[in-house]
């Protein structure tokens, strides 16, 4: 074990882990965080708390993580390299760990172009792979990125994202290998709708033995309606929604579409449970 993280314990034990997410509110109301997180109590092993997701300003991930921690749940701090340089990221990691938050996810983040502050400058002092490397070094070597010693290193269980559906497909296993090389402990994938393609990607992972070095949590998002399915297909970069899926959800009456979406997720989960290398599920319920 590299950390004291409950998520790590579960994954090491070989049980399927389940994570989900809680997007902080677009305001300063702590009860909004509590309401949402409460829904996840008893259902998940860790709660991802997004970091200015889709480049829209929200309550900071760390503050919402602290609220969730105080509720007795297990938060997972997401951190994008878009909004912070290496100083700010490291101080955030120290702060999070001081509050008992010991899981995190290093991401590059959506481009500001997609959000509500398109005029903002992106930072990208580091990329997500360099961020993983930095947090690993803080934990395993007790050193800051700049090389100085840390007085009380943070023992973070370090995650990153992977999108098996983005292009070029032939690079997607190699990019994961780079994250493993940087020291990532677990991966949460993009929402899986094209299960065949995902399985092909997992084969590549298993062929290289990467599944023995990193825990892969398969990303699941229930479709709520045919409208959402079409939007995901056409508007969200790097999302792969097969036509059959759209056809299937379009084939049921509107009031039953959400239920059908959940049914499809359960089928996907059942199928993926048998895929070698899948260590758990990351369920992203989009509001």
């Amino acid at each position: 074990m590299k950390t004291e993280s409950t998520l790590e314990k579960i994954l090491v034990s070989g049980q399927l882990a389940v994570t989900s997410e809680c997007g902080p509110p677009r305001g300063a109301l702590p009860d909004k965080v509590r309401e949402k997180a409460e829904m996840l109590r008893g259902c998940v092993d860790a709660v991802n708390v997004t970091d200015n997701q889709t480049a829209m300003v929200r309550m900071s991930s760390l503050s919402a993580c602290i609220i969730i921690k105080q509720m007795g749940l297990n938060p997972l701090l997401q951190m994008v390299t878009r909004d912070r340089n290496r100083l700010a990221m490291q101080s955030e990691v120290l702060g999070a760990y001081a509050h008992g938050i010991d899981n995190m996810l290093c991401l590059s983040g959506d481009h500001p172009h997609f959000g509500d502050h398109p005029a903002a400058a992106s930072v990208h002092d580091l990329d997500s792979i360099q961020a993983v490397d930095m947090v690993r070094k803080m934990r395993d070597e007790g050193l800051f990125q700049g090389g100085q010693k840390i007085d009380g290193p943070p023992k973070m269980f370090i995650g990153a994202a992977a999108n098996p559906f983005a292009d070029p497909f032939e690079l997607r296993v190699a990019r994961l290998a780079k994250k493993v090389k940087a020291g990532v402990d677990f991966i949460q994938t993009q929402c899986i709708y094209n299960v065949d393609k995902f399985e092909k990607w997992m084969e590549g992972i298993v062929d290289r033995g990467l599944h023995e070095k990193v825990y892969i949590l398969a990303g699941i998002t229930p479709m709520k309606s045919v409208g959402m399915a079409k939007y995901m297909k056409n508007k969200v970069p790097g999302m792969d929604v097969p036509d059959e899926l759209i056809k299937r959800i379009a084939g049921v009456p509107k009031e039953n579409q959400a239920e059908e979406g959940i049914k499809m997720c359960l089928e996907t989960i059942e199928r993926l449970k048998n895929v070698k290398g899948v260590a758990g599920f990351h369920i992203m319920a989009i509001e």
């Binding site: 990329d127 992977a162 292009d167 190699a174 993009q190 970069p237």
Partner: protein, 222 residues
Amino acid sequence: MITAERKPIEDLINSVSSCRRILLLGCNECVTVCSAGGRKEVALLSSALQMHFMKEGKPFEIKEITLERQCDPEYVEELVPHIDSADAVLSMACGCGVQEVARRFKDKVVLPAVNTKFMGASERQGVWAERCAGCGDCVLGMTGGVCPIARCSKQLLNGPCGGSTKGKCEVDPDIDCAWQLIWDRLKALGMTEKYEENIPAKDWRTGRGAGPRKIVREDLAS
């Protein structure tokens, strides 16, 4: 080259509206090549301004000069006989040229007539695209000759991100994904193993990280 685009005519009219005599300066280097501020553009802007102020019935004189290189003190010196007769200088050079004229003539207002954009190359007739961000420590040798800093929208040194779609960047389908280009080049060169070498965090001090930069060549400096 350094690329630039002329500011909108209304902005330029506004910026010189309190002047009676202006010196309109072009530059024969980059801005000539990218058709933003060479001799030809100086002549066009000059007539547009004269026409405007003539219509308004306002006295307005303009003198056109295009220097060989406006970022070079040696050529800027050529302005000495002309500078006093102008209330202000309107420069069509890049930001470097504007500043060189301002540095030389301390009591003269120098106004920019173009927006300086980026270091780029010509893609085809009339199209220029960004290529280099001047990071001061070139990594093109590792990336198949395609710059991840200037050409990836997130300046990822270990891309591509999860938004790369059919060779295009998630930010805009008109932008090629730099990491797709890098991968294609590495493949063509038989250097795909390079891809899996993690590029470490960049030392931005060679770029803008340590403040304004200077090159001093002891062998040449006087």
